[in-house]
């Protein structure tokens, strides 16, 4: 700890409460962690030793982090679209609302919020915990040390391919989520008899703003970066054993989710205002 700070919190010289000491300690700890996060990012974005090996790793990560996530995204989006349609239908039973609004509501909800934010929260759970535990286990079993000894930039070799894979693949997941979500809404709406197929299809085409898709994809790219970098950071600096790897994995999901929600507000204000 910095000497000046030590003096500041020395209760013999300056009369401050235990609460304030704790507050300063937490603030310093937070700033240290933030600094380490940016140092890690600098290492991640340095020049690769052998680009061909990074390319191979990236292809592998496309499969592990991207293709393997299609299933869960498809299932959740389908049911999300179905529920949005049914809820909209049961809350707009007044005859002054045209029925096609149900389709429109489903489309806009899926595009604006569910395909990007909810999908990102789900991916924070699936992909984030996977990244943190994989890198964390490599740390505690000295595999990262082995890479360092060989002269490999371990941060770049392990994290950059994951980052590239998620930044490229997650927008596709978002598009898949939009399509399947709207499809789920159509199936649920027509099967439940709350809307006709014609009305629903008219609704999803009505007053369509293409920029909403761009907005959703921009958010997805930001969220993909948050999930990968925060989870990798938690895993990379694990110190201890399996218990700490588990804790890092939990922290990765919690911190990623909170940051996704925070950036959702910020990006919405910036992009839609």
């Amino acid at each position: 700890m910095h000497t000046g700070f030590k003096n500041l919190i020395n209760r013999n010289t300056i009369n401050i409460s235990n609460f304030e000491v704790l507050k300063y300690k937490r603030m310093i700890k937070f700033l240290i962690q933030l600094g380490r996060y940016f140092v890690l990012l600098k290492k991640v974005f340095s020049k690769p030793e052998k680009p061909v090996l990074y390319y191979k790793q990236t292809i592998r990560e496309f499969v592990f982090l991207g293709l393997n996530s299609i299933g869960i995204i498809a299932i959740i989006s389908f049911f999300m679209g179905a529920v949005i349609t049914l809820q909209t239908a049961y809350n707009t039973e007044n005859p002054i609302y045209p029925k096609y609004l149900i389709g429109l509501g489903c489309r806009d909800s899926m595009i604006l919020e569910f395909s990007s934010t909810i999908a990102a929260l789900i991916l924070a759970g699936k992909v984030g915990s996977n990244i943190a535990s994989e890198i964390g286990t490599m740390r505690v079993t000295e595999q990262i040390d082995a890479l360092e000894i060989m002269g490999v930039n371990s941060a770049s070799y392990l994290i950059l391919p994951k980052m590239i894979a998620t930044l490229i693949f997650n927008p596709f997941l978002t598009l898949i989520a939009i399509i399947i979500g709207i499809f789920g809404g159509w199936i649920a709406g027509t099967l439940a008899g709350v809307i006709t197929s014609e009305n629903f299809i008219y609704g999803i085409q009505y007053a369509f703003i293409p920029y909403y898709i761009t907005y959703s994809l921009i958010k997805t790219v930001f969220f993909a970066f948050i999930i990968t970098s925060v989870s990798a950071f938690q895993g990379y600096y694990v110190d201890g054993g399996s218990l700490e790897v588990g804790r890092a994995s939990t922290k990765a999901v919690v911190y990623s989710s909170v940051l996704i929600l925070l950036f959702n507000v910020i990006l919405t204000q910036i992009l839609l205002s």
């Binding site: 052998k50 079993t141 595999q143 082995a146 000894i149 060989m150």
Partner: protein
Amino acid sequence: MISIKNLNKSFNGKLVLDNISVKFEAGKTNLIIGRSGSGKTVLLKSIVGLHEIDSGEIWYEDLLFNKLDFAGKKKIRSEMGMLFQGSALFDSLTVEQNVRFPLDMFTDSSLEEKTERLNFCLNRVDIINANNLFPSELSGGMKKRVAIARAIALNPKYLFCDEPNSGLDPITAILIDALIKELTEEYSMTTIVNTHDMNSVMEIGEKIIFISDGVKCWEGNKNDILSSDCGILNDFVFANSLAKKLRKVSK
């Protein structure tokens, strides 16, 4: 040759290595021995640069390693091989891919040349018909041997082994020790082995330093160790009842 001068290392204000100075000679198996928690692994990891030291000097031949920048350290690291306590094989790669990894990363050799080198390294450590197995499918002894094969893949000048015998039965442990000694002589490497296994000490200890509580207490070889007058070393060497009895008889 690797020289250490007045090396100090602490964690959170607690001194773990206290003014260590030693020379590790080329073509010899140099041993760092001591009780668990004495600072052996911290010393080894400081020598290879995995821990930043507080003060002191680490020389690889005529290069001051701890003052080099990333590129300078990387150059020396390309001449290092390390065998970790838990082997540290990459879980997601097969035996073949593990040994091939440094060749793929740091050489521009053709596929045939790399395959030839890979097969040579695996044969050298007696790993046969296991190329496509994953680390989780290997026994402890096999993992160590694969890790040695990976460590020697690039013909290193320096070999570091952190407790190479931990978790192995005495016969396999002796085989691993013999392999390390043979490779050291064959390639004239500077080998440093961390151990608390007295069998290893008596088998391969050409130069030995004994560390207790982060302080170097004794330096010598396997012939001197039994007649040392260093009390803490004697407690360590003659820790079990059989060794104590043998010592009494020899006196």
